[in-house]
Amino acid sequence: MKLMPCPLNGLRNIQEFVCGGEVAVMPDPATVSDEDWAEHVFLQDNPAGVVREWWCHAATSFWFIAERDTRTDEILRTYPAAELFPERRDFARP
């Protein structure tokens, strides 16, 4: 069993978690061009190395950030999303 250190729940079986994909800065949906939006939605860095990703502990619906090495399957660090996003971000109304 592989363990994921959840910032809220401590070490848990990784089967309890869902990988939410690479952390990327979301463009403002109201003003972004279709092309840039497609890029944000579909394109990935998909690196062979350290990647910063969203993960969710499904049982508690807790989203956080994990840094993993995709070559060695090592989880290097996990922390609450507030560390990357200290302020609430509001988008313009469409």
Partner: protein, 415 residues
């Protein structure tokens, strides 16, 4: 020593000729460089030489030929997809598979077994019916069958209603087949080499060379020195994002391991190929009697081919629900391949925004069956500069145009 053996030793036909010359000196430049010496790359090289007379071709691979996902798939060949684009494409591939042994002069042990996709819920019965209708419309032999007939085809499968996920129906695809995967790569390699294509295993591409503004590819930098080429094809499965990244391209691909395993050999008892999307299981019995089994891709992206207990526990639980008689059978070996998964479960094929760089990627868990048709269509695309009509809907551009080819319902098992 028996006399006969001595005579054999002196015979002119011994030692047997190598199938193909490997790693000749690397030239300064080629008409076409193909990165990736798996089935797709070698088939493209063969068809470039055979169909278009382009023989100044080098196939580069960082490992050995056919050592990536060509060696790691579960060898299933079928055309019972969901979208008209997908079905037409894979149906063309099936036509090539049937006489591939003859074309290559190499026995690929192609065995038509029939293919059953099980439905355990009303929703999946509906999808199977949909697939059957699309298939029939495009002249692909598929039909929905019920447990009575499934029982006749697979007497060893548990069709009782007392299990957790009873089998309600199945999509039956009689042309479904298996083939010897290594032989496919070797056959294409041998016939391509006959026509003058150079094969360079253990030659890793470390950079793509482009014009200063990055708009045009001019060659590749390799572990054995630079090579000039105005046309470069990348056919590297799990490493697709890394190679494309060398040209500054980002792809809609996540590299995720897919694990598989084989059991100890058993007497032949399972003729058709069995797939269950809901149970995340597929199984077929090889010519050697081993059960070749696979499941869903891993739950998160990774470039490592490690083995996990989670995979085996999940797969075996479901396998035993379908075939309780296998409970004493042992696993012989297991492995993983890195699948390049696209959001719509269709491949990415054709030209790229970088002139001269062509891509054959996004083959996720469905690439082996497409090997022959990828060779034909990618060779056409490289020779003419225009995407082959069969692959136009698989262009990289489709994501920017929100024009995906949604194949999730038929691509493989639960992702």
């Amino acid at each position: 020593m028996p006399f006969g053996l001595l005579k054999y030793g002196f015979a002119r036909s011994y030692p047997a000729k190598r199938l193909f010359p490997v790693r000749p000196p690397l030239k300064e430049g080629y008409d076409v460089v193909i990165i990736g010496g798996g089935g797709h790359g070698l088939a493209a090289a063969y068809h470039l030489a055979h169909d278009h007379g382009i023989t100044d071709v080098a196939v580069l691979d960082k490992g050995y030929l056919g050592g990536g996902n060509t060696a790691r798939n579960t060898t299933i060949v079928r055309a019972n997809y969901l979208t008209p684009e997908g079905v037409s494409f894979y149906a063309e591939s099936m036509k090539l598979w049937r006489d591939l042994s003859v074309r290559l002069g190499f026995n690929i042990l192609y065995a038509q077994r029939g293919h059953l996709t099980l439905a355990h819920t009303d929703a999946s019965v509906r999808t199977m019916r949909w697939r059957a209708e699309v298939n029939k419309h495009l002249d692909v032999d598929s039909e929905l069958i019920w447990p009575e007939e499934i029982g006749r085809l697979v007497p060893s499968m548990d069709l009782s209603r007392t299990v957790r996920y009873p089998v309600l129906a199945a999509l039956y695809h009689p042309p479904g087949a298996i083939a010897r995967h290594d032989a496919v790569a070797w056959g294409y390699a041998a016939r391509a080499a006959d026509k003058g294509v150079e094969l360079h295993p253990e030659t890793e591409v470390t950079a793509l060379l482009t014009t200063p503004d990055g708009s045009r590819v001019t060659g590749v930098e390799t572990s054995r020195g630079p090579v000039r080429a105005n046309r470069v094809l990348q056919a590297v499965a799990g490493s697709s994002s890394l190679i494309a990244g060398m040209a500054g391209l980002r792809l809609p691909i996540r590299s995720i391991p897919l694990q598989a395993c084989v059991s100890q050999p058993l007497k032949p008892f399972l003729d058709p190929i069995i797939v269950s999307g809901s149970l995340h299981t597929y199984v077929s019995q090889s010519a050697r009697g081993e059960l070749v089994m696979g499941g869903a891709t891993d739950p998160y992206p990774l470039y490592g081919t490690r083995s996990t207990l989670d995979f085996k526990e999940g797969l075996m639980g479901h396998m035993l629900e379908l075939f309780p008689g296998l409970s004493e059978v042992r696993i012989l070996r297991q492995w993983a391949g890195i699948a390049d998964m696209t959001p719509d479960f269709s491949p990415i094929m054709g030209p790229t925004p970088v002139e001269g760089l062509y891509i054959d990627a996004g083959w996720g868990t469905w690439g082996f069956k497409a090997t022959p048709i990828c060779g034909v269509t990618m060779a056409h695309t490289l020779a003419t500069g225009e995407a082959h009509p069969l692959i136009r809907s698989f262009a990289l551009q489709r994501f920017r145009a929100f024009d995906q080819v949604g194949e999730k319902g038929a691509a493989s098992v639960g992702h």
